[in-house]
Symmetry: C2
Subunit: 304 residues, 2 copies
């Protein structure tokens, strides 16, 4: 974790920690918002991608599959390390995200979301070009990179509680490895995609069908292989929030914090605002605002 922090020093932003008297009064706690929506590429994903790619020999080709923040993160990290990058994206990916990914110099390979298999396509690219696959969360170096956000927050503040968005579990697992044991750390996922809640109840990884949720960045179908044992052993709990609660949090961030946070990135804030995080009264509560790539058009559609 400290090694990852050293690698990221001067490359990733040490993102600001925002506070709000209004939020504190509403929650009844001191809330510290680690603002990863202000990270490079607009999400914490840059941390894990850069750390993973920095462990490869300079110039090693890389490949990743993602239609979202991980795509841009790998593309930028690869450019900074002089690595050619191929990103496997669905043909219906938003034009802006594709343009941003290409803008960082990556080659985009399209697939049909209905009929294609992005994992197989990425594996083919890897086999053909010798490219290294940068996994979105199931990679120890990615997990360690993501943990540096919580590491920075804990270096500057004594937290009682930490609340982070939960998709595949890279951010949560990294945060759990980065925070002192006494910090109660919660993951927050959408109720429409509650694979973690179900898995923890069952005591084993449960797969669900593809979730439909406004939090596209958290719409995973099962806990990760590497993230599952860390999260199940160490997390204080996993909380689910509805799409309505996610939109309320996006609106609160916009109206009261003057910050643009995407629905998935606002999951921790949503859980706090909905009163779903246990025992926060009077505590110092960290929350990671993990991404801000929603764009004016989707934002206006969401809030209309």
């Amino acid at each position: 974790m400290v090694a990852a922090a050293t690698v990221l020093d001067g490359v990733a932003h040490r993102t600001p920690v925002l506070t709000s008297r209004t939020l504190d009064a509403r929650i009844g706690a001191r809330v510290l918002m680690k603002s990863e929506h202000l990270q490079r590429v607009g999400a914490f994903k840059f941390r894990g991608a850069f750390h993973a790619i920095s462990r490869l020999a300079p110039g090693t080709p890389v490949v990743a599959y993602s239609s979202g923040n991980h795509a841009q993160a790998v593309a930028l990290a690869a450019r900074l390390r002089g690595s050619p990058a191929t990103i496997v994206m669905p043909s219906d990916a938003p034009a802006a995200k594709r343009a941003a990914t290409e803008g960082y110099g990556a080659t985009v390979v399209e697939y049909d979301r209905a009929t294609g298999d992005r994992v197989a396509i990425a594996a083919r690219v890897a086999a053909k070009s010798g490219a290294h696959l940068v996994a979105p969360f199931d990679d120890p170096d990615v997990i360690a990179g993501q943990g540096t956000a919580a590491l920075e927050l804990c270096a500057d503040h004594d937290l009682d509680v930490l609340v982070v968005p939960l998709g595949g579990g890279g951010l949560l697992a990294g945060s759990l490895l980065a925070t002192p044991d006494r910090v109660r750390t919660y993951g927050v996922e959408p109720t429409a995609g509650d694979d973690w809640v179900r898995s923890l109840a069952a005591g084993r990884r449960i797969a669900i069908s593809q979730p439909q949720t406004v939090a596209d960045s958290l719409a995973t179908v099962a806990p990760g292989e590497l993230t599952w044992p860390i999260v199940s052993a160490r997390a204080a709990g996993v909380v689910a929030v509805t799409d309505g609660e996610l939109v309320d949090a996006v609106r609160f961030a916009l109206d009261r914090l003057h910050q643009v946070v995407e629905p998935g990135g606002a999951a921790g804030l949503a859980a706090l605002l909905a009163g779903k995080v246990p025992d926060v009264a009077g505590r110092t509560v960290g929350v990671i605002l993990s991404g801000g790539n929603i764009g004016a058009d989707r934002l206006t559609a969401l809030l209309r």
Copy 2:
């Protein structure tokens, strides 16, 4: 100015300075954004209001007329100083702004925008209750308070250029008093309300009819009596931006900076993005993002 900074220390936020590689590349300069939309009440106006009220005997009643950021600024500043506050607001003021003003404990007196005279009403309140009128810009203590934003920015960074939104001129006049002479400082107003551009061309204060612009916070009809001599003597220039350029800047802030800035608050950024600020290439350019109180509903309407 230093006295105002001392008074505001620990009361106003020392707001963060945001940067963006994307913006720097677009402008061809190093741009430092002093983020007064993250100030208390969401605008720099808190600085001037608190400074002015702090100069009165504690508990002195105050009165102000405003439907916008100055209303909330005076209401909060008065509450913090134990002063009863009366705010004269038009009857069609947005419910949210009225609620926020009342939420800070101020008494709201309504007037009809078509038939009423807010200045006269405020004067009557002052005469009856002995309340001190806190002017929105034509007050030396208000001007000094507003200047502390630029003072903080210049304390931490060597600027070549500073660009600030321009309505009545309180922020620009304060900034001109706060910055070293070698910093070229520009004001930016909406083209629909170009009273400053016309006045500077004429060499005297020119009044225009009530401007219709998306930048409601900059819709003044004439330069201020106190701000005019400071601005006309010291400013490097005044630039006008169209409503379209203002909306483009709001959208850029949202999409690329993940910040919510109201149209008037984005005027400096708009002028930079539109290439209207002279000789910025390769320079260190400060810009004040001066307010963020637009709200989800107006924002979505603006960007639709």
